[in-house]
Amino acid sequence: MSINTTNMKSRKLKSQIFYAIILICTLTTIAVLAALLISVFSKSIGWLNWNFLSSLPSRFPAKSGIKAGILGTLWVIGLTAIISFPLGIGAAIYLEEYSKKGWLKELIQINISNLAGVPSIIYGMLGLAVFVRQWGFGRSILSGALTMTILILPVLIVAAQEAIRSVPSSMRHGSYALGATQWQTITGVVLPYASSGILTGTILAIARAIGETAPMIMVGAAAFISFVPGGIMDSFTTIPLQIYSWTGKPQAEFQNVAAAGIVVLLAVLLLINSIAIILRNKYQDRVKS
């Protein structure tokens, strides 16, 4: 019954080496990120001010602002959320609660997972062909939002499906045993229980959409907008698109303007991710005993 302890030393050594390797990996990542952030923040100093936030784009770096980008992003993302949320949840409910097991469901499921991995520029091309041209919505906020919707739907559906699947069967049974119909059980117990997961998934999907540039270039958001959008048929620009156009400008000072724009984009993303975390914690408290 004696346990062999002779190779204890070499095992400990291996363990330490492994620890060192993963530590280096982690530190490298953090270092690269820190370098990027420092360069962006230092460039933006002096440029990121109230004037920058409240001005429209201009030919002159000092007069350029991100107001049109912020408002454009708000319009597009807001509309995207309104369209994609019911579609995504509806699809997830159908797939999890109603559809029969079988090849059709498998096929849909595989397709959704595949779509989640398609490069975003492809969605941009689809948006250009269908929404801008065929449906005649033009280069509008509506076209942009519809394109973003199909871009994030796969992610949203999968997240909502996972949330619905995580509802314990004891909850459903408790509801059915009281004489609830399937629909009453879904709205009364399943969705409230799954809501934190669904909300988190939606917000993270939307956060992804906020940073997307390529599909917006395809549907033709304008980089230079000298007015504030007032409706869904107006043309628009978004924060990442503004940044992209500033980085391509010849004047060196525009690099600083772009840096200021990046800081704004990061702030928006950070805000949205914190909202996701707060919501998740709030609902988790309610569900967990």
Partner: protein, 249 residues
């Protein structure tokens, strides 16, 4: 003592597995019928057939007849049936909402809306489940904040709120501590005055203490059904006697 439910030549298969074999039981009104037997013998399967919860499982085939006051439950609307035949599960399963919302969940799905009516239902049901005094000051607090025993009584209240005629309980105390178990056993005495109770238990003393009739299950068959005192003191079948005296279990 009239007959509430009658089960005739009931057979149930999960795929090709024969889980219930020619089960015949009479369920007497306003009495407690206990189902005992070693685990895996089909007690839960049987009790789930009484409110057609097995409909939710794929691949189940059921033959034979179960009648509620003379009417075949296959012909009843399943929603109406589950309203009349309520069920309490082994593990307390309150919904992740307030105590109040848990109790009114059933009445609301059946159409009750008026706030005064709902308030009255909540108080009556919680009193019926011997929980009112403990929770009356925190009705709007989350149900998941209650202790396990309180949660199980809340689940009983939730069922009482839809005013069923029959109460099915599948090992309602097996996840609870002795003090909470005792509370629920005491409650049983009250409940049978108004309801017909069917309870699964693998705790023999519990069956002896609270039930009027007992059926002994073994491998999907009913070995013996009788008045509880006869099952315990004058079992007719050798296997019943062995089980009661703890020779296997």
């Amino acid at each position: 003592m009239s007959l509430k439910m009658k089960i005739n030549h009931l057979n149930l298969h999960y795929g090709d597995f024969h889980a219930l074999k020619d089960v015949n039981i009479d369920i007497t009104e306003n009495a407690v019928t206990a189902l005992i037997g070693p685990s895996g013998c089909g007690k839960s399967t049987f009790i789930r057939t009484l409110n057609r919860m097995n409909d939710l499982i794929d691949n189940v085939t059921i033959t034979g007849e179960i009648s509620l006051e003379g009417i075949d439950i296959k012909k009843c609307d399943v929603i109406e049936l589950r309203k009349r035949v309520g069920m309490v599960f082994q593990k307390p399963n309150p919904f992740p909402m307030s105590i109040y919302e848990n109790v009114i969940y059933g009445p609301k799905i059946h159409g009750a809306k008026d706030k005064k009516v709902l308030d009255a239902i909540v108080e009556k049901s919680l009193r019926g489940a011997a929980l009112w005094e403990e929770v009356k000051d925190r009705l709007h607090k989350p149900a998941l904040g209650l202790s396990g025993g309180q949660q199980q009584r809340l689940c009983i209240a939730r069922v009482l709120a839809v005013e069923p005629e029959v109460l099915l309980m599948d090992e309602p105390t097996s996840a609870l501590d002795p003090a909470s178990t005792l509370k629920i056993e005491d409650l049983m005495e009250q409940l049978k005055k108004e309801y017909t109770v069917v309870i699964v238990t693998h705790n023999m003393q519990q069956a002896g203490r609270i039930s009027d009739f007992t059926s002994f299950f073994l491998n999907g068959e009913i070995i013996e059904s009788d008045k509880t005192e006869n099952i315990f003191y004058k079992p007719r079948d050798k296997r019943t006697e062995d089980y009661i005296t703890g020779r296997f279990g």
